[in-house]
């Protein structure tokens, strides 16, 4: 069993165990969240939030606060912006474009004006999952549990309002409230996932596993579960690959997800 041996060797080191734990936790939540995001045509949410998070990082440098705090604040702010301004005239996609590029512009400006952080920004852009501590890993697991519990609690409302807002309202639900809860959870997931894949690739963990799960699923629940599973497999294979080939972990995880996506497309079509 060379594969088992390779995995055993890869995850013998504590830093690899921490990385795996955090990546599995984030993937388990990003899959189901990504499914809802795809149904709502909000695939750019991850990118938009990650770009906006650059502003948060820059402002955190300026205020001498921890960068994760700035990232979280900016992500929540982006979610609030989307919730308040979403309307029929400006679709989610256009609004996400505004947040994405507005955040990037403002963030770069703030970063240059702050004059610092040029070395530290790399971790933000590309992720530093191999450098996280047990506290970071525990935070990822805790957050995953919180988000998954919230998803399960709001599931019917989330699916029904993705399906048809009118039908949801007629069924006594409040789609605007479900939307607000979804955006808030997404902001949390993105803020934590930036640690793992970096801002450039954070959207991949949300979008690719869900898109890979679609051809195999016949119900919303199956798609969400399969997306979680595919994301977790990508985390496992990606991290192993990163160990074996001495490659950066974030891009390796995303590449593994891409391979899985191509695989399900192939099988989905043949069925």
């Amino acid at each position: 069993m060379p594969l088992a041996d390779a995995l055993h060797a890869a995850f013998a080191e504590p830093f690899m165990q921490r990385a795996l734990l955090a990546a599995l936790a984030v993937a388990a939540t990003a899959g189901p969240m990504g499914s809802v995001v795809l149904w709502r045509r909000m695939a750019w949410f991850g990118d938009a939030t990650a770009h906006a998070a650059l502003l948060g990082v820059a402002l955190a440098f300026l205020a001498d606060l921890p960068a994760p705090l700035g990232i979280l604040a900016a992500a929540l702010l982006a979610a609030l912006f989307l919730h308040v301004f979403s309307s029929r005239e400006t679709g989610n996609d256009a609004l996400l474009g505004v947040i994405s590029h507005g955040g990037l512009g403002l963030g770069l400006l703030a970063l240059m004006l702050s004059g610092g952080g040029r070395g530290r920004i790399e971790g933000f852009l590309f992720g530093d999952i191999l450098a996280i501590g047990w506290d970071d890993a525990a935070l990822a697991v805790g957050l995953a549990a919180l988000v998954l519990a919230t998803l399960a609690w709001r599931w019917r409302g989330l699916v029904l309002s993705s399906l048809s807002a009118d039908l949801a309202v007629a069924s006594g639900l409040k789609p605007r409230r479900e939307n607000a809860i979804l955006l808030m959870m997404l902001a949390l997931v993105v803020a934590v996932a930036i640690k793992i894949t970096g801002a450039l690739l954070v959207s991949a963990l949300i979008v690719i596993p869900a898109a890979a799960a679609r051809p195999l699923a016949r119900t919303p629940e199956a798609m969400a579960s399969l997306a979680a599973l595919i994301g977790m497999l990508a985390a496992l294979f990606g991290l192993s690959g990163a160990w074996v080939f001495d490659a950066p972990a974030g891009p390796a995880i995303v590449t593994a997800a891409l391979v899985l996506f191509l695989g399900t497309r192939f099988f989905g079509r043949r069925r």
């Binding site: 009118d166 016949r218 119900t219 919303p220 199956a222």
Partner: protein, 283 residues
């Protein structure tokens, strides 16, 4: 609103069934400065069948969306009996192809009913074979029936249907109305329905409301039997499920749908339906 609620309680004890389920009071909807609905006053009582007819762009779907709560009106008030359960059959279901969904799962999401109930109801509406099919793969008629099954399983006090027979052929439409009538007889819910046809409505309609931004006229439908020419036109296969509604307008409309002064009444007016109480034909 509190007043309306206490009034509802009183009359339900005195005469069960006569307290309204829903009341629209001078409701108006404006979008982009354009008046979509104006001065709509409407009351639906338990067990009543109310049919809305009207030309394209008359605001029928908007009115339905106000009733189910999807639109908050810009003017006027909407009162719903506390705890009112609405079953809603939308005009169509715009399913995003990225969302996988079997008919079984769809009905469960809307109604929260159990597996056996769902299977039984899909049999009842005549589509037991689609239970494990994808919603996106259903035909127009099958989709309507699955939507109806989901709405019925909610155990509604009021069933709201937006052009449910659209896309069905004449016998299919009659069968759909008969099914609806049978279910209503058993469960006793009220029905608010938009008819896609200006003149043909469910024969058991207690009231027909002709809408053109405002309530043009209301009345009872004349039975199909009374109109042999329509029977000849639509055949006898409807089994009395369809009926003819004769409009009785006291005004005409310009091309934008605005009101013009009353035109000389056509001869048909004398035999037209009487105005329904509670709704005024604004003009």
């Amino acid at each position: 609103m509190a007043e309306a609620g206490s009034e509802g309680k009183r009359s339900s004890r005195a005469a069960a069934g006569s307290a309204p389920l829903l009341r629209l009071d001078r409701v108006g909807v404006v979008r982009d400065g354009r008046v979509i609905l104006e001065d709509i006053t409407l009351e639906i009582r338990p067990g009543e069948i109310v049919t809305i007819v009207g030309p394209n762009g008359a605001g029928k779907s908007t009115l339905v969306r106000v009733v189910v709560g999807a639109i908050t009106p810009d003017r006027g008030r909407v009162w719903r009996r506390p705890g009112l359960v609405i079953g809603y059959v939308p005009q169509r279901l715009a399913l995003d192809p990225s969302l996988p969904l079997t008919a079984r799962r769809f009905v469960a999401l809307v109604s929260e009913a159990g597996e056996e109930e769902i299977a039984a109801m899909l049999g009842r509406v005549g589509t037991p074979h689609v239970i494990d099919r994808q919603m996106a793969a259903l035909s127009g008629g099958e989709t309507q029936r699955v939507l109806l099954a989901a709405a019925l399983l909610r155990g509604p006090d009021l069933l709201v249907l937006d052009e449910p027979a659209q896309g069905l052929d004449q016998p299919g439409e009659a069968a759909f109305y008969r099914l609806l009538e049978n279910c209503r007889r058993e469960a006793g819910f009220a029905i608010l329905m938009v008819s896609h046809d200006l003149h043909v409505v469910m024969s058991t309609s207690d009231r027909v409301i002709c809408l053109n931004r405002h309530v043009c006229c209301t009345g009872t439908p004349a039975a199909v039997e009374a109109a042999p020419e329509y029977r000849a036109l639509f055949g006898t296969g409807t089994g009395g499920a369809l009926a003819l509604y004769r409009h009785s307008h006291d005004h005409a409309h310009d091309v934008d749908g605005g009101c013009l002064p009353a035109t000389p009444a056509p001869a048909a007016k004398a035999e037209g339906p009487t105005d329904g109480e509670g709704t005024d034909a604004a003009g």
